[in-house]
């Protein structure tokens, strides 16, 4: 029983990171209709910025806030410079651009900060609550939940949030209302990048900081987004927690999976959901008349 609870709690903790990454992926998908394969590398790069700030003696939470600001600006710039000119290009051009960005960031981070593994400090105290869940895990879940609440308030109750939802839903009508859809997309990129950065900073103390740290996590993030429904931000978050718990339980209780085949679980999940329920658990089915 204790093992079970332990696995569930740590699943929820890593699940919160998958949720953050999935949310970032969904935000970009809603804005431009494509999966951002470089989402994880953007988060990793921002996490390195946080590490560099900490290394220079910045207090943790100040570095945390500065990194979020950096990630936001970084996302906006990437959209303006790289994806704005591509906005009507075919899907393959987008994929190549995403892959290019992936490698640039991956190798860029290695070039600037070295490929060696670095320990990333946690802002939360060491130890755990009766061996079931560590303070860092509670902190991860807490920070992600706070971030989600802020996002909910932003989209629900502010006029910029409303304008962003309108721009994603019906760009032409949004323009007729005087909304600059291009800037809303850039803003979406900035926010997605910042959300990913929060995920990166929180998971780095667990997986250690190095340029490839987000590879597996992005895969779980994709799985979470697909499970939850790629068009539904709340679904993606729920999907993140579900995938986190599932990953742990399968790894613990199905002997041949163990920790080596865990990553396969994400891929199996993606394929299974796409075959059985392509719109995900909470997604909308879009019907097009032809």
């Amino acid at each position: 029983m204790e093992l079970f609870l332990n696995q569930v709690f740590s699943g929820l903790a890593t699940g919160s990171i998958y949720a953050a990454v999935a949310l970032a992926v969904v935000m970009i998908f809603l804005a431009i209709d494509h999966f951002n394969f470089a989402q994880g590398e953007m988060a990793m790069f921002s996490t390195f910025v946080c590490w560099a700030l900490l290394d220079a003696g910045t207090p943790y939470w100040l570095a945390f806030i500065l990194t979020i600001a950096f990630a936001f600006a970084f996302g906006v710039v990437i959209e303006r410079v790289l994806f704005r000119p591509l906005h009507s290009a075919p899907v393959l051009s987008h994929i190549i651009a995403f892959l290019g960005l992936f490698f640039i960031l991956n190798n860029g981070a290695g070039w600037i900060w070295d490929f060696t593994i670095k320990p990333m400090p946690s802002p939360f105290p060491e130890g755990s609550i009766s061996g079931l869940i560590s303070y860092h895990q509670i902190g991860m879940i807490g920070v992600v939940l706070v971030m989600l609440a802020l996002l909910f308030v932003f989209f629900r109750f502010t006029s910029v949030g409303l304008a962003m939802r309108a721009a994603a839903q019906n760009p032409e009508s949004a323009r007729l209302c005087g909304i600059s859809v291009g800037w809303m997309i850039a803003l979406g990129w900035g926010m997605a990048s910042a959300i990913g950065a929060v995920g990166g900073m929180l998971i780095a103390p667990v997986v250690f900081l190095e340029p490839n740290m987000m590879l597996g996590i992005l895969l779980y993030g994709f799985a979470a987004a697909i499970v939850g429904g790629i068009t539904n931000p709340a679904g993606a978050v729920a999907g993140g927690f579900m995938v986190g718990v599932l990953e742990n339980l399968v790894g613990t209780y199905i002997p041949f999976v163990g920790s080596e085949l865990k990553l396969t679980v994400a891929l199996v999940l993606i394929v299974a959901v796409l075959m059985v329920k392509p719109s995900g658990l909470f997604g909308r089915t879009t019907v097009t008349r032809v």
Binding site: L162, A163, A166, Q169, N170, E172, S173, R175, C177, G178
Partner: protein
């Protein structure tokens, strides 16, 4: 009366295909002008060209300011509200959110709240449905929502693309009554594109007749409605 909108030699293209061939017209401040024509004559394209939604060349001036080639959102910010073909509803947002989007470029918070109440006064059905997802509204309600959303901009000029499309005759009549009231009470100028020529000529003071991207005839609505050929081709009697 001074001209609010002046269009000179406006051509528009879909890709390499030219669909408007240098049309010119003007619209008086506070007036209602209608553009009539058969399917494919270029009525919708004219409205879309005014709003920068299709590639176009020519001169368009709004209240003396050139607006040719401006981005769609910039045209909207200058007080041109376009009620598009197909209504342009934000289907997954609530009725009230749709209305607030119409006013999103405005900064006068109190004015927006007051206008929201005014819209619910014009269209009581929208008040009943204010929290409902706009996509679940009936066609008539969505058309009213589209008109109300456009009015939330406090426009100087309203472009209406086939507001009667797909609606029951009674609802169409009610809508045209409200349009007339809005024009009289709020002094909003209107450019109306309509298939229903009889209704449009009844509401408008000036009419232009488009044929394959060119102005074939123009004049006061009363004269156009009396024209023998127009009666036969567009009014059916």
């Amino acid at each position: 009366m001074a001209a609010l909108l002046e269009v000179a030699d406006l051509s528009a293209y879909y890709g390499p295909t030219k669909v408007l061939h240098g049309i010119s017209f003007s619209l008086d401040e506070g007036g209602i002008t209608t553009i009539l024509g058969a399917n494919g004559a270029g009525k919708t394209t004219t409205l879309r060209a005014l709003c920068g939604m299709v590639r176009s060349v020519g001169q368009v001036t709004l209240g003396g300011e050139a607006i040719t080639g401006l981005a769609t959102e910039s045209v909207a910010k200058r007080g041109v509200a376009h009620v598009p073909e197909g209504r342009g509803t934000f289907t997954r947002l609530s009725t009230e959110e749709n209305l607030r989007l119409g006013a999103i470029s405005r900064r006068d918070r109190d004015g927006v709240e007051a206008d929201l109440e005014r819209m619910y006064g014009y269209f009581p059905r929208l008040r009943e449905r204010r929290q409902q997802q706009a996509g679940t509204l009936s066609g008539g309600e969505q058309q009213m929502l589209a008109i109300a959303r456009a009015l939330m901009l406090r426009p100087r000029l309203m472009l209406l693309d086939e507001p009667s499309f797909g609606l029951a005759p009674l609802i169409v009549q009610e809508m045209f009554r409200i349009l007339r009231r809005i024009n009289e009470e709020e002094k909003v100028s209107m450019l109306l594109v309509e298939q229903n020529a009889a209704l449009a000529l009844d509401l408008a003071d000036t009419a232009y007749l488009l044929e394959t991207g060119r102005v074939a005839m123009s004049g006061p609505a009363k004269e156009i409605v009396a024209d023998e050929q127009v009666r036969r081709s567009y009014l059916g009697y």
